[in-house]
C-alpha cells in the first residue's frame, strides 16, 4: 500500500489514460468534422468483429495443452450455446453456464 497522495496520483493516471483511449477517436473526429466513408464503413463492420475477438479474449488463459486440457471451458461453452439456441433466454444461458463452470473448476476438475 502507498500513502494517500501517491495512491491518488496513480488513480488519476489510470483514469486519465483509460478515458484517453476511449475518447481518442472523438478528438480526431469532432462534431463539425465530416466523417470519411471509410470510417463509417468500419463503424458498421467492426462491432461484430470485436465481439468475435472478445469471445477469444475471455478464453485466452484456457489451459489447452495441460490438465484439464480446456475441458471445463469446452463443456461450459457448449452448454451456453446449446441453451441459447434452444431457449434464447440471455439470463438462463449466462446464469446456468456460469454456475456449471464454477462447479466444474471447483469440484470436478481439481
Amino acid at each position: 500500500m502507498l500513502d494517500a497522495v501517491s495512491s491518488l496520483i496513480i488513480i488519476a493516471a489510470v483514469a486519465i489514460t483509460t478515458f484517453a483511449t476511449r475518447a481518442a477517436s472523438f478528438l480526431v473526429f469532432p462534431k463539425d468534422r465530416e466523417i470519411p466513408p471509410t470510417v463509417k464503413y468500419i463503424g458498421t463492420i467492426l462491432p461484430p468483429a470485436v465481439i468475435g475477438m472478445l469471445v477469444v479474449y475471455c478464453l485466452r488463459s484456457t489451459q489447452v495443452f495441460a490438465y484439464p486440457y480446456g475441458v471445463p471451458e469446452l463443456i461450459a461453452c457448449l452448454t451456453v450455446i446449446g441453451l441459447h439456441a434452444w431457449k434464447r433466454n440471455v439470463l438462463l444461458s449466462v446464469g446456468a453456464g456460469t454456475i456449471l463452470y464454477m462447479v466444474l473448476v471447483q469440484m470436478v476438475f481439481v
Binding site: 488513480i11 483509460t18 483511449t21 477517436s25 472523438f26 463509417k40 458498421t44 475477438m53 461450459a76
Partner: protein, 235 residues
C-alpha cells in the same frame, strides 16, 4: 425527468446479464484491492473515476513502492488500446448527440460497448437517453459489485473461482445474437479467427493490439465483399 425514468425502465432488462456479471467481477476487483490494503472508499473511487474491468485488475499491481507513473500509464495504455477502435466505430453515431455523449465515451467498457452495438433502440424512447441509461446502469452495477467485494473480502470466504466465466458466456450469447443475422457472420468470423491466430503467435498477454490491427486491415482490404452500407442501399 420523466423521459429519463422511462428510458431507464426500458433499458434495464437489456442490462440484467451485465448486472449478473459485473456484480461478481466487480467484487473480484474489490477483493484484490482490499488485499493490497485499500478499503471500500478507495475501491469505489476507482470504479467511479476509472471504470474498466481488466484495466482495474491490472491497476491493483501499481500500488506498491517503486512503481512509476509512466509505467502505470504505459501498462494501462496497452491493456485499453482496443478502446481506440471501439470509439472509431461509434463516432458517426455519437457525434449526433449532445454534450452528454462524453459520459457514453467515458463508460465505453467492453460489455457496455457490445451491449450498445447489439441492442436495437426501442421505438418509443430517445436513443441518447436509452444509451445513457444502459451506460449508467452498468456503471452502477460495477460500483456496487466493487463495494460488495471490498466489504466482504475479510468477512466471508466465498470461493468465487470461475465466476469470471459470466463474461465469457455473455459474449458468446451476444455473438450468437449477431450470428442470427446472416450479414454479420463474415465480420464475426474475421474477428474470431484474427484473435485465434494472434493468440497463437503472440501469446495471451500481448495479442489484443495485433488482433485489432489485423482485423481492421482485413476489414479494409475485404471492403468489396464485406461492405453492407452499399449493399443495403442497393436493395
Amino acid at each position: 425527468m420523466g423521459e429519463y425514468k422511462k428510458a431507464m425502465r426500458r433499458a434495464f432488462p437489456y442490462t440484467v446479464p451485465v448486472l449478473a456479471g459485473y456484480l461478481f467481477i466487480g467484487a473480484a476487483f474489490g477483493v484484490m484491492f482490499a488485499d493490497q490494503g485499500y478499503n471500500v472508499l478507495w475501491a469505489v473511487l476507482m470504479s467511479v473515476v476509472v471504470y474498466a474491468g481488466s484495466g482495474q485488475y491490472l491497476a491493483t499491481n501499481f500500488f506498491v513502492p517503486g512503481i512509476s507513473i509512466l509505467q502505470a500509464v504505459f501498462l494501462t495504455l496497452m491493456v485499453n488500446i482496443r478502446h481506440v477502435f471501439y470509439g472509431l466505430s461509434l463516432v458517426d453515431r455519437y457525434n449526433r448527440f449532445g454534450r452528454k455523449r462524453w459520459y457514453l465515451i467515458f463508460g465505453m467498457t467492453d460489455e457496455t460497448y457490445s451491449l450498445i452495438c447489439t441492442t436495437g433502440v426501442p421505438d418509443d424512447v430517445d436513443e441518447e437517453k436509452f444509451l445513457l441509461s444502459i451506460t449508467l446502469l452498468n456503471q452502477l452495477y460495477w460500483i456496487v459489485g466493487t463495494a460488495i467485494g471490498s466489504l466482504t473480502a475479510t468477512v466471508i470466504a466465498f470461493d468465487s473461482t470461475g465466476i469470471e466465466f459470466a463474461m465469457t458466456a455473455l459474449f458468446i450469447v451476444m455473438f450468437m445474437e449477431l450470428w442470427y443475422r446472416r450479414s454479420n457472420r463474415p465480420a464475426e468470423l474475421v474477428g474470431m479467427l484474427s484473435a485465434v491466430l494472434c493468440l497463437a503467435l503472440f501469446g495471451a498477454s500481448n495479442f489484443v493490439l495485433p488482433t485489432m490491427v489485423l482485423m481492421v486491415a482485413v476489414i479494409l482490404l475485404g471492403r468489396k465483399k464485406l461492405d453492407r452500407t452499399e449493399a443495403d442501399a442497393d436493395a
